[in-house]
């Protein structure tokens, strides 16, 4: 923009340095580099600060947590941005489609049917696999049903998602009310998203699935840019909208399922990260918004975990804080939109 160009009076040395900084700041690449440096700094602080005993032991445990954060922020960041682009909105997230609620429902059904003893006894990998398969199957079923027929309105799909989500939650609540208090406690504990103490094998499996999702989505980044213009214009520009959207939804489903099954439901996280990424990246292009969303996800998770663990001395449930902050942010977005 013209107004952004600094005045051309003979610049003094600090002024020249400042204008160079302003010019650099205008480039999305520079901003992402800066964000990357912040993430690296946080990783170093998280890994090396406040080590109670053996450094090697702490590093081993903590790097697993960092890896889990990377998997989750990649899955959530990428899938939310893609979901926003496909649905042409910036407030609804895959969580609204009932993914999180569905995950809780699956776990509740397992506990309800077999009791908490069996829930705890079942092999983690089997449980993870069941959850991923059921969640992907659910979303693919939902999308093929909604996109297979004649009418394929995205708003109808979102509405169906909201109704299903509410249905899952009520059904879950009903079952939980009839649970043995002990079973309920075990279940509640399992339903708080937890990034610390991830299982190595599950982490590896989730990472593979998330990488697969990225391998599908990243080559389509330029097509995603065109989808920003909306379906009619995208079709006019020669995009096979229906096919592309199905492929993208499949990628999104797999990523979300893998990460939710790994750490549990993280509801509002994607919403914050994606919306911050749009403002921070300063470009609508997915080459920039996708990595920005992932890096911001890392900042949120690492920063949140650091504050919780090192400052407040609490372990575990970062998701409570994220849900709280996410809720406030959601209200802010809705109110700001209403004000315009």
């Amino acid at each position: 923009m013209l107004t952004d160009i600094p005045p051309t009076t003979t610049p003094s040395a600090p002024a020249a340095a400042r204008s160079r900084l302003v010019a650099a700041w205008a480039r999305p690449g520079f901003r992402i580099g800066l964000l990357g440096a912040v993430v690296l700094g946080l990783v170093v602080v998280y890994l090396f600060s406040d080590v109670p005993g053996s450094l090697a032991f702490a590093l081993e445990k903590r790097s697993l947590t960092v890896a889990a954060m990377l998997v989750v922020s990649t899955a959530v960041g990428v899938s939310t941005v893609v979901f926003h682009t496909i649905t042409q909105n910036r407030i609804l997230t895959p969580a609204i489609m009932g993914f999180d609620a569905f995950y809780v429902l699956i776990s509740t059904v397992i506990v309800f049917v077999s009791g908490s003893a069996a829930f705890l006894a079942v092999d983690e990998v089997t449980l993870w696999l069941v959850q991923v398969v059921v969640m992907v199957a659910f979303s693919v079923l939902l999308f093929t049903w909604l996109f297979g027929g004649k009418r394929r309105s995205i708003h109808l799909m979102l509405l169906v998602g909201i109704v299903l989500g509410t249905f899952f939650r009520s059904f879950t609540e009903w079952m939980q009310r009839m649970l043995d208090p002990l079973d309920f406690q075990v279940l509640s504990d399992a339903m708080f998203a937890s990034l610390t103490r991830p299982d190595e094998l599950l982490l590896g499996l989730s990472a593979v699935l998330v990488a697969l999702g990225c391998a599908v989505i990243v080559p389509l980044r330029r097509t995603l840019d065109v989808l920003t213009l909306g379906e009619p214009t995208a079709v006019g520009l020669g995009i096979d909208h229906r096919r592309v959207v199905m492929v993208l939804f499949l990628g999104v489903s797999v990523m979300i399922a893998a990460s939710t099954a790994l750490v549990g439901p993280i509801l509002f996280f994607g919403l914050i990260v994606a919306n911050l990424a749009y403002s921070y990246a300063g470009s609508f292009r997915h080459v920039w918004t996708l990595p920005t969303a992932v890096l911001l996800g890392m900042v949120c998770l690492l920063g949140g975990q650091l504050i919780l663990e090192r400052i407040f001395g609490l372990g575990g449930t970062l998701s409570t804080v994220i849900d709280f902050a996410g809720g406030l942010f959601f209200l802010y977005l809705v109110l700001r939109r209403g004000a315009r």
Partner: protein, 252 residues
Amino acid sequence: MIALENVTKRYDGVTVVDNVSLTLGGEGVTALIGPNGAGKSTLFGLVGRLLKPDAGRVTVGGLDISTTPSADLAKTLAVLRQDNHLTARLTVHDLVEFGRFPHSRGRLTMEDREHIERAIDYLELDAYRNRFLDELSGGQRQRAFIAMVLAQDTKYVLLDEPLNNLDLRHMTEIMRLVRRMADELGKRVVTVLHDINFAATWSDRIVAMRDGAVVADASSREIMRPEVLKAVYDTTVDVREIDGKPIALYYG
């Protein structure tokens, strides 16, 4: 040519386009007129492959649109829709760049850049190229979208109500541009218009639709007669000759 052969489209049993056979895309500007619900936008949707016909066949430049890859069609046919609401903030330049997507798949070559520059110059958008679309007036925005369509470099251009929500000056400006695109660049323009005086003044041929069928198809002068317009719009329209041009009076 854009050829429709016995094309029918129904929504839940209601026939919106009824067995239409029509050839569009001759030299110059063709205007599509008709009352609301006549099936004009549906017809555009069918040609622009947003909708699938329940019966019949549509070809564009000899290519059957149901079998030709969408990406190939986008090199012969460009469509500008009525409602261009965007969720993301784009600059004029970003938007015009998208016009090259069918050719470059997003990787711009020197040739693409030349097309973009030419389109921006042609629509006199150079001063606004780095402005965001939501900072522009309705007329400037519409010009930016037309520049995108122009950068697409297609023989056929479909414009769906390009004058929507524009004031007098901008309506005239857009129609003048459309005319120039047809005369200077040899574009075959087909446009839906609601104002029949604009249609009569700026187009070579007028196709009038009503209840999903073509009821009149002739030169502007032949359409601009009270009995024809009465048949199309089902309301009395007076036509007077002013400075040798037929002008329809329908203000009551």
